[in-house]
Each structure stands twice: as structure tokens, then as C-alpha cells.
């Protein structure tokens, strides 16, 4: 508890959290207070920002602000879902392998390292290319989670292995607790803050990865997302037309979210790791 209080004293943590909560509010509040329609044309293509359309219109003449809010919601959703899946798989494999040691650990480590080396973008291209129909936002998030867990597994394994020889773990083993009992009761609680930090990074990675594959034209079919807004803008030559409002807001939002998450992560590292403080 004390450590969480000291988190609240860290200016970096407060700053990052405020920034991140700001983007979440931006995704949640406007749809409640105003009429946002991201599907019908309301004007000419690429109309510059005006009082009526705060961020102008896209290549079809759809209100850009409505698109942006919808895209932000989708990207945050993908980030959280992909982050959860990746953290779950990675933590499970990492904690189990690190505690067990021996052959099981070796196999899990080799498997993790294999998929760490093979670029996940490649796996994503091959996989998303083959599921053209039914490539929903949720499915994309799950696929991303299933390809980015390797980092987590590696990092958590190292932490878990270092806890293996601790007294309380040995005591639990002598008392006849099973592997899963020990992993969940004796090891995971010690790693919670670490797992939370990993979750933050994985969420950022999820948002970035979704944007990357959407840029390739392999984005979700059932939803707009920040990456898809960028892809549409690139495809329809918003750049050469000088229609900065078609891509700049989406770029700023992605950057702000990821930056906020990075700041939260590094400030937590600073609090949990006294050696970094000075």
C-alpha cells in the first residue's frame, strides 16, 4: 500500500495518468453529450476545419471529429484487449517456466525465444491476410495479443526464477502445496506490480500494432480505428492534397496515448526500483 502512495507522489506518474485518463474521457464523453455520426456524409470531401465540423471532413465528406472519436474508442479497446491477452499468456508461461525450471522451463524458453526472433509483424501479415472475412476488431486484438506475449514471458520468467529459491516458497513446498498453489499464492503476488507494468507496455504495443497492420490495409472490416483513419488518409492522398486534418489528429492521439503509457511505466519503474532514483 505504501508503495502505491509513493506512486501518487511521483510527478511523472501523475502526469502520465492524467494524460491517459484524458484520452479515455475524450473517447467516452463526446458521444454522450453531442450527436456524432461517423457513417453519413455531411459535406464535401476534405473540407478544412470549421465551426460546424471541428476537424473538417474526410475523403468521403464524413465528419472527421466523429470518425476520430470512434477510432479512438476502437484503438483503446484493441489496446486493452490485446494487452490483457498478451499479459495473460506471457505471465502464465513466464511464471510457470521460471518456477518449474528444468526441462519444462527449457522448452518454454526455447519456444518463447523462437517467436521473439520471428518478427511478429510478419506473423500478423500472414494471419490477417488469410482471414479476410470476419476480421473483426476483437479478433484482431486477440491475434495481436497472441503474437506479442513473448516479451512478457521472457521478462516474467526471469523474475519468477529469481523467486524460486526464496524461503517462503520452499516452506510452501515442504508443506505440500502443489505447483499451481505455489505459483498463484507465493510467486504471483510478488510480481503483481511488475505484471501491471508489463500490462501497460503491452497495451501500448497493442495500439501500435493495430495501427501498423491497419496501415497495411489489413485492418478490421467492422470498425474504424486510428490506424485505419491513417490508412484511408494515405490511400486517398490527403498528404499531397495538404489535408492535414485528415491524418494529424489521429497521429497526435496515438502518440499521446503511447507516450502517456510509457511515462506511467517509467515512473513506476523509478518508484519500484530505488536504484534508478536520484
Amino acid at each position: 500500500m505504501k508503495i502505491f502512495l509513493s506512486l501518487l507522489k511521483s510527478p511523472g506518474f501523475i502526469f502520465g495518468m492524467l494524460l491517459f485518463l484524458g484520452t479515455i474521457l475524450l473517447a467516452l464523453i463526446p458521444p454522450l453529450t453531442m450527436h456524432l455520426d461517423h457513417q453519413t456524409r455531411v459535406g464535401l470531401p476534405f473540407m478544412p476545419p470549421s465551426g460546424k465540423h471541428w476537424l473538417g471532413t474526410d475523403q468521403m465528406g464524413v465528419d472527421m471529429f466523429a470518425l476520430l472519436i470512434q477510432g479512438l474508442r476502437a484503438s483503446l479497446y484493441v489496446g486493452f484487449l490485446a494487452g490483457t491477452v498478451a499479459t495473460f499468456i506471457g505471465t502464465l508461461i513466464g511464471v510457470y517456466g521460471g518456477y518449474k525450471g528444468g526441462l519444462i522451463d527449457d522448452i518454454l524458453t526455447v519456444g518463447t525465444n523462437l517467436f521473439l526472433v520471428i518478427p511478429s509483424l510478419i506473423v500478423l501479415i500472414l494471419l490477417s491476410g488469410s482471414i479476410e472475412e470476419g476480421r473483426s476488431l476483437t479478433l484482431i486484438a486477440i491475434i495481436i495479443g497472441c503474437t506479442t506475449w513473448t516479451w512478457t514471458a521472457r521478462a516474467v520468467r526471469a523474475q519468477s526464477a529469481s523467486l524460486r529459491g526464496r524461503d517462503h516458497v520452499n516452506l510452501a513446498r515442504i508443506n505440500g502445496y502443489g505447483t499451481f498453489g505455489i505459483v498463484f499464492m507465493q510467486i504471483l503476488p510478488y510480481l503483481l506490480s511488475y505484471v501491471f507494468m508489463v500490462f501497460i507496455l503491452q497495451t501500448a504495443a497493442g495500439i501500435l500494432t493495430e495501427a501498423s497492420i491497419s496501415m497495411l490495409g489489413l485492418g478490421p472490416y467492422d470498425s474504424i480505428s486510428l490506424g485505419k483513419i491513417l490508412n484511408e488518409a494515405m490511400k486517398n492522398e490527403a498528404l499531397t492534397d495538404g489535408a492535414w486534418w485528415a491524418f494529424a489528429p489521429a497521429m497526435v492521439l496515438i502518440t499521446v496515448i503511447v507516450f502517456a503509457l510509457y511515462v506511467i511505466n517509467t515512473s513506476m519503474e523509478g518508484v519500484f526500483n530505488p536504484r534508478l532514483r536520484k
Binding site: 526455447v110 491476410g129 488469410s130 496501415m215 489489413l218 502518440t255 507516450f259
Partner: protein, 358 residues
């Protein structure tokens, strides 16, 4: 057998590991496209069978050639495609297909492009690979070196330099690679028109080793280079900074300070120690870096592998996608292997470890 050659043992061990990774990568490359509903092979099969009455002879020949090339269909003695009653080709079993894919990949035979038939996939790759290599290898290398130097300086100096540099590096590394690309294209390519925004060389030129061509190519090189470089510098500097802060608290640094060793010398010691985990980090993040750089290539319409993959995705040219992804994976594996070997040479602990009990 190699007990007296720890370096050799290390290299052989790593090589074995990478051969294993290669086979997994090939397997992944074969099975992943077959997982989904719009399986490219099924689609091709349906095309080769279904509307055969309407197909022109040439189109049919092309599809048959592709099916035969990859051993996807059963053949009779004379090499004709066996078909069932409705004219659909009879597929071979998945394992036969996998075996033929494996042996073809090992031979470097990647088949023909569907869209640009009868152009070979290897030809497409041969044309774009030099662009990708000449863009990414120097950029990642130089970015890594500069990033680490800046990170070490920030950790050592602290104070005003660090206060300014650290948030800046954090911000730069948080900007997604494609955003940096779009920003540079828009600002320096389109608004200011300082540098060309798209492509790898002037339209009127033909790639050759001539002075005018190299001049034009290096002019087009600036923006893609910068956009990959900035991201890598930011990311590496942050990692190196925290690494060096750890090292600064180490006894050997304090001892050296008490002895009055020159600052530059201490920095040198520290750099060498902090660099090793950074090298390992480089090996692990190469895949991510290369992925980001490929997307940067697409934004700049740079004539490399990224662009080849993008246009293949847009036209559903599966052999080209598969060929490019396989090649990119192999390049990443080779780069990783080189870094691993380098670490072995720089860090004696690694060598003794792999020569030891394991």
C-alpha cells in the same frame, strides 16, 4: 570435443539454435495462411476448377502452373493435373504440400507471382532486397551507436542535459514509426519541398551504378533514413541511460573515481559493461525494428521489400507475400545470429556459460 574452444562451441550452439528457428519460421510461413477462411490456396483451387468454362486458356494454364509448382495437386504420369468429375483439381494431402514447400524453400525456389505471371517471386525479391538492405542495415547500425552514446552521456552528466534529453527521447520513442514517416513526408517532402516525398530515385532514371543515379538515390534516401533513425536513437538512448545509471552505482566505478581515473576512461569502462545488455536487447528487438522500418518504406513508397509486400497484399498475390515474409524472416535471423556471435566475442561470460555444464 570443443572443450578448449569456448568461442567455437558458442558459435556452433547458436548456429544450431538458428537452424531450428529457421524451420519453425518456414513452418509458420506455410501453415498460417492456411488457417483462415479465405485460404489463398482454396481460392486458387476454386478458380482453377469452378468457372473453367469462362476462363481463357491462358488463365487456366497459369493457375495450373502455380498449382503444380507447389505440388498442390495430384498429377498423372504425363504431368497433367488430375481432376474430379466436375473439373476440380484433386489436391494432394497437407503433408505432401508441406514437404514440397519445405524442399522448395530450402532450394530458394519461391514460385511465380500470380499477378505478374510468369515473373518469378525470386525476381521480385531480387529487385527490392538491395533497397531494403541499403536502407535498413546502415540506419539501424548508426542509430544504435548514436543512441547508445547519447544515452550514456545523459546518464553520466545528468543535470540540465538529461532533464532536456530524457523527456525528448521518451517522446520520440513513443511516436509510432509510421507517424514519424508521415510527418517527415508532409513537412519536408510536401510543404517545404526540401526533399522528394515518394520513391527511391528520379522517375526518368534506370537503376544502375552511375554517378547521376547514386546522386538521385541518396537524395531520396534522406527522409526514410531520418524517420527510421530518429526512432531507433530515441529507444536505444532510453535503454542505455537506465543501464548506465545501474552501472554508475557499481563498485568499480566508485573505486575508479576514488583513484582519480580520468572521466573519459571511466565512461569507457561503463560503456563497455552497459553495452552488453544493450546488444542483447538489439538482438531481441530487431524483429520489431525491421517491421517498423518496412512500414516506413511503404509510407515513402521506397522500392524495397515493404513496398513489395504492400502491393502484393493489395492485389492478393499470395506467392509474393509468402516469399517476402520468408525472406524478411531469414534476414532478421541472420542479423540476430551475427549479433549473437558478436556478443560471444565481447562478453567472455557468455562463452564460458555455453561451454560449461549446459
Amino acid at each position: 570435443m570443443f572443450q578448449n574452444h569456448p568461442t567455437l562451441t558458442h558459435i556452433l550452439g547458436r548456429a544450431g539454435w538458428y537452424v531450428l528457428t529457421f524451420f519453425v519460421a518456414v513452418t509458420v510461413n506455410f501453415f498460417l495462411p492456411r488457417l483462415g477462411s479465405s485460404n489463398p490456396i482454396d481460392i486458387l483451387m476454386a478458380k482453377a476448377g469452378g468457372s473453367s468454362g469462362m476462363d481463357t486458356k491462358a488463365a487456366r494454364e497459369k493457375e495450373e502452373a502455380y498449382l503444380k509448382e507447389f505440388g498442390l495437386v495430384q498429377l498423372d504420369r504425363t504431368g497433367n493435373v488430375l481432376r474430379d468429375g466436375s473439373g476440380k483439381p484433386l489436391p494432394t494431402s497437407d503433408w505432401t504440400q508441406f514437404a514440397s514447400y519445405l524442399s522448395l524453400s530450402l532450394k530458394g525456389e519461391l514460385g511465380s507471382s500470380i499477378i505478374q505471371y510468369p515473373k518469378k517471386v525470386s525476381e521480385v525479391i531480387k529487385r527490392s532486397l538491395p533497397w531494403t538492405l541499403s536502407l535498413q542495415v546502415p540506419t539501424i547500425l548508426i542509430g544504435w551507436i548514436i543512441g547508445n552514446i547519447l544515452g550514456a552521456l545523459a546518464a553520466y552528466k545528468r543535470g540540465a542535459f538529461d532533464k532536456l534529453f530524457y523527456p525528448l527521447a521518451l517522446l520520440v520513442s513513443a511516436v509510432p514509426p509510421f507517424c514519424v514517416g508521415i510527418l517527415l513526408v508532409y513537412v519536408f517532402g510536401i510543404s517545404l519541398e526540401w526533399f522528394p516525398a515518394m520513391g527511391g530515385y528520379d522517375d526518368g532514371l534506370v537503376p544502375a551504378l552511375s554517378w547521376t543515379f547514386l546522386q538521385s538515390a541518396s537524395y531520396y534516401y534522406v527522409l526514410p533514413f531520418l524517420s527510421i533513425f530518429l526512432i531507433i536513437v530515441g529507444g536505444q538512448a532510453i535503454g542505455m541511460r537506465s543501464m548506465c545509471i545501474y552501472e554508475l552505482g557499481a563498485d568499480y566505478v566508485r573505486y575508479a573515481k576514488f583513484l582519480g581515473v580520468r572521466e573519459s576512461k571511466i565512461l569507457q569502462y561503463m560503456f563497455r559493461n552497459a553495452m552488453l545488455p544493450q546488444l542483447t536487447g538489439l538482438a531481441l528487438s530487431l524483429g520489431v525494428m525491421v517491421g517498423g522500418a518496412l512500414i516506413t518504406e511503404m509510407i515513402f513508397s521506397y522500392p524495397g521489400l515493404g513496398m513489395a509486400v504492400l502491393s502484393a497484399i493489395q492485389s492478393n498475390d499470395y506467392p509474393v507475400i509468402q516469399g517476402c515474409t520468408l525472406l524478411i524472416t531469414i534476414c532478421v535471423l541472420i542479423a540476430n545470429f551475427s549479433v549473437d556471435i558478436l556478443i560471444g566475442f565481447l562478453d567472455p561470460r557468455i562463452r564460458t556459460q555455453s561451454a560449461g555444464a549446459r
